[in-house]
């Protein structure tokens, strides 16, 4: 009689998830807890839960049981590769599902990898979430029929039960914040038109207007499902806004490989979000029948100009089965008849009837009632500067590299022991920020993708943009070739005065350069660049006064338009963490600082706050003093015990022979196989383990095919040569800092 749900929650972010308030519980090993939960009815063993480099559950911070839900929390600074998650389910348990759960809007989008639910239902005890049902129905669906239902009916009707959002007044108790004066008109326009093109200038809040309009339609029961199709880089911003303005809506992001997407399409939710490429793949290139047959009450195409030409993408969009169809675009389309016809062939397929080449007059008269376009310059109430933060998710390679760099960085910091200083932390922050900007190996950059997408729209409207970064060499120079179509110029410190003047003049007075990439240090002060009315802050300096100064290049006397400022921030990254701390502190910084490097962060965050970014305390204490006092044989026994705690069977070898292997550790894997580790222990407090030890271990692994991988563990450090040697080999190095952490986690300290 067990219905257990396993959720892996990433940090306090999910504190608000409905019915799952985190509860402080004593730290308990995951396996113990699962066993406790399933006592007498089911048993379950979790194998290889986290990535090999983090070995088992070492990073789970707390585990708690809430009703029938199990909650695991781990620190935000940790990264878990849940691709490696595998579960060993005893054959006696049936109806077991490992699900990715659709997200409540706005609760971070990479959650699909972070939040998992395991349902064990060995009997028919799944409770009906919605109803009290005094009369039973013979044809009532049995649990096995409902496997694909991840969101219960209550979740789906939740928006309908919310207090009504009024379309009239600007201010509404039930909205995240006040609407801008022009937005209610846009919302009414969308609510009243099944086919609509909202073509406001960028910065006027097309996304917010669309979300509130959807919210109203959901509340009125006029729509129950919808799909948003947008460029890849805009998925994150959409989710963020949905979370703010319509958190009652459940959103599923369709992405990933062809094996994971079908279940995402099949998941019941209020909204699906997909990018154009994914939609084209699943509807045209490798059609997924269930997706194609899905009926949506509403389809929103953001950047709808993507379908202005006949293409696979436009065909994919046209095959969407949706009654209401809205398009969003800030790109002026009025003068391009064929583009307009193609777009409205999607929005309202019968608009032009049999007329193949309608005249411009006819087009104009037909589309006018279905189009709303406001220019920022026409709106009298527009403020001079509109600030906005855009949260983006790292691309897959970028994320892997970032996570690895963070993991390694944290271990390195821990290895520094009591010698750690704030400078070490700041160095790691800079390293991570650069990856947030651009991952050099794969050349992936979500910020660049986003920039390219929005610059299209901005420059089409005759606007120009400034892009600021504090890393001219590592970021600006490298993204510059990718922006060639906008004829970018780079303004940085190494330029001569004459060159600087020439670039500024060209940008200010010519039409050719649409974008000026500016190093913060050289471009932040003194210049007048009023030809630009869009400013992108590619990375952050943690000091609003400095940012204002940069924005001041465009927002100054002579500027005739509203200036739109966008800060690009990566979610689940050091950027977001710092931003969050600064926001929580609610401090104001009016002074300008001269130091524009990341070191300036010291003036904003305390030492404790800086250390806490990586889960460190100010003065790390060597909690495992016992290590220094151990005899070498005692150290081997300790390592053996550690691996036993991790779920292995261990054998500490005799003191001689066995190719220097000190401990063998074995366990069963989820696929029915067996994993054997050969562990070599080097008790070298204060000393360094070199390459020869690693070579010797590699030889032992190589000679014995039963050994899955090797582990070299030391109470000292590893030399660079040793680390280089094991790169790409099946050897894991555990040096003192990590060892101490593992011993603490497994309560062996």
């Amino acid at each position: 009689m067990i219905t257990a749900k396993l959720k892996i929650l990433k940090g306090p972010r999910y504190a608000a998830v409905r019915r799952l308030a985190p509860i402080d519980a004593p730290k308990t090993a995951l396996a113990e807890l699962l066993q406790e939960l399933s006592t007498g009815t089911a048993s379950i063993k979790i194998d290889k839960l986290f990535s090999p480099s983090l070995e088992d559950f070492s990073i789970v911070e707390s585990v708690s049981v809430v009703g029938q839900d199990l909650l695991f929390q781990y620190p935000l600074s940790e990264s878990i590769d849940l691709d490696t998650l595998s579960l060993l389910i005893p054959p006696t348990i049936q109806n077991v599902q490992l699900l990715t759960r659709p997200q409540r809007a706005g609760k971070s989008y990479n959650d699909e990898k972070e939040q998992l639910r395991l349902e064990l239902s060995p009997d028919n005890s799944i409770s009906e979430p919605v109803s009290t049902r005094p009369n039973s129905r013979k044809n009532r669906p049995q649990p096995k029929d409902r496997r694909a239902i991840f969101v219960d009916l209550f979740d789906l009707i939740f928006p309908i039960l919310q207090p009504r959002v009024l379309q009239g007044p600007q201010q509404n108790t039930f909205l995240h914040s006040d609407l801008k004066s022009w937005q209610p008109e846009g919302i009414r326009f969308l609510v009243q038109n099944e086919s609509a093109l909202l073509a406001d200038d960028m910065g006027l809040g097309k996304t917010v207007q669309t979300i509130v309009a959807m919210k109203i339609l959901f509340q009125q029961g006029l729509i129950k499902t919808g799909i948003i199709v947008c460029p890849k880089s805009l998925i994150g911003p959409w989710e963020r806004e949905l979370g703010k303005w319509a958190e009652e809506l459940y959103v599923v992001r369709v992405e990933g490989d062809k094996y994971t997407r079908p279940s995402q399409w099949d998941t019941r939710a209020h909204l699906h979000i997909a990018n154009y490429e994914t939609l084209t793949r699943d509807f045209i290139i490798e059609p997924y029948e269930s997706a194609i047959q899905q009926r949506f009450d509403l389809c929103v195409l953001d950047e709808i100009q993507r379908i202005k030409n006949a293409s696979k993408t436009s065909n994919a969009c046209k095959s969407l089965n949706a009654k209401r169809r809205w398009g969003l675009s800030g790109t002026p389309l009025e003068n391009q008849a064929s583009d307009i016809v193609n777009i409205f062939n999607f929005l309202k397929p019968d608009l032009f009837g049999a007329i193949k080449e309608p005249s411009k007059t006819l087009i104009k008269s037909k589309i006018e009632p279905l189009t709303l376009r406001r220019r920022a310059s026409d709106l009298k109430e527009m403020p001079e500067v509109i600030w906005d933060e855009t949260y983006l998710d790292l691309l897959p390679n970028q994320r892997s590299v970032y996570d690895l760099a963070e993991q390694r960085g944290v271990v390195e910091l821990k290895n520094l022991g009591e010698t750690i200083t704030v400078t070490h932390v700041l160095q790691l922050i800079t390293r991570l920020k650069k990856i947030c900007n651009l991952e050099e190996q794969s050349h992936e950059s979500i910020k660049l993708e986003y920039l390219r997408d929005v610059l299209d729209e901005i420059t089409d409207q005759g606007n120009k943009a400034l892009v600021f970064s504090q890393y001219p060499n590592e970021t600006l120079q490298k993204i510059m070739p990718e922006l060639n179509k906008f004829r970018p110029e780079l303004y940085q410190g190494s330029l001569s005065n004459a060159e600087r003047d020439r670039k500024v003049n060209h940008f200010q007075n010519g039409d050719e350069n649409k974008v000026l990439l500016m190093s913060l240090k050289s471009g932040g002060v003194g210049l007048t660049l009023t030809r630009a009315n869009y400013v992108f802050l590619f990375d952050h300096w943690w000091n609003p006064a400095v940012m204002k100064q940069a924005v001041g290049r465009a927002a100054r006397i002579g500027q005739e338009k509203t200036v739109f400022v966008r800060s690009l921030i990566i979610r689940n990254s050091i950027e977001e963490k710092i931003q969050q701390i600064l926001r929580d502190k609610q401090t104001t910084f009016d002074e300008i600082v001269d130091d524009l490097s990341d070191d300036a962060l010291q003036q904003r965050l305390s030492e404790d706050e800086l250390f806490s970014l990586f889960g460190l305390s100010k003065k790390p204490v060597s909690s495992v003093r016992l290590l220094d006092n151990l005899h070498w044989a005692g150290f081997e026994d300790l390592v053996g015990k550690l691996y036993e705690q991790m779920g292995f069977k261990t054998e500490v070898t005799k003191r001689s022979g066995d190719h220097g292997i000190d401990v063998y550790a074995t366990r069963h894997t989820s696929d029915g196989g067996k994993e054997t580790l050969a562990i070599q222990c080097k008790h070298y407090p204060g000393r360094t383990v070199g390459e020869p030890e690693a070579t010797s271990l590699w030889g032992a692994i190589y000679a014995d095919h039963k050994i899955s991988r090797g582990v070299l563990v030391t109470t000292g450090k590893f030399s660079k040569q040793c680390k280089d040697f094991v790169e790409g080999k099946r050897i894991r190095l555990i040096e003192r800092g990590e060892l101490e952490m593992l011993l603490r986690t497994y309560k062996l300290s």
């Binding site: 919605v130 049902r133 005094p134 129905r137 209550f154 789906l156 919310q162 009125q220 129950k224």
Partner: protein
């Protein structure tokens, strides 16, 4: 004091039959809990046997009481828009009232129960109690005045939600 109001109703379905539903909200109308019953369809024999008492029987015994028993967010006040459901008050201790628009016709001809007019940012409403529980009126009026919504509006939400659920069920299970 935090007020939770429960809006309880028995709705007639398009395909015949009844569905009971309860929505518990806080003072500003944010939903705390929602439950509904399966569609209850009386057989012809049952219709004959129960006659005029069929609807009250379904509303009170088959839907109202089980719903009140099931909800976890216990309300301070139960609000009804069907007068026959006032009989529920005989079976629990929570103040229970029946509401109708002031210009509407109150279904009951009963004059023993207390009633009062409620005015706010909505069309006036007549509040009526169970005839045996006139003392509910003072508490109820005080609770109603602290609500920041039109107390008949949540019933619209319930109807829309039930309609959506019915469509889901039809779509999914035929």
């Amino acid at each position: 004091m935090n007020i939770n109001a429960a809006f309880l109703t028995l709705e007639t379905t398009q395909s015949g039959g009844y569905v009971g539903a309860i929505l518990v909200t806080d003072q500003i109308g944010i939903p705390q809990e929602f439950r509904c019953t399966h569609r209850v369809v009386a057989t012809k024999v049952q219709q004959q046997l129960y006659g005029g008492t069929l609807k009250p029987h379904i509303g009170i015994e088959l839907c109202g009481l089980p719903l009140l028993k099931e909800i976890k967010s216990k309300p301070n006040l139960i609000i009804l828009k069907d007068s026959f459901l006032l009989a529920l008050r005989e079976k629990h201790e929570i103040p229970t009232i029946f509401l109708s628009r002031a210009e509407g016709i109150i279904e009951t001809s009963d004059t023993k129960s207390s009633s009062e007019k409620l005015e706010g940012d909505f069309e006036p409403i007549i509040v009526k109690t169970h005839q045996g529980c006139n003392s509910d009126l003072n508490d109820a009026m005080s609770h109603l005045r602290s609500l920041r919504l039109d107390p008949l509006e949540p019933f619209v939400r319930i109807q829309t939600a039930l309609q959506a659920l019915a469509e889901q069920e039809v779509a999914k299970y035929g």
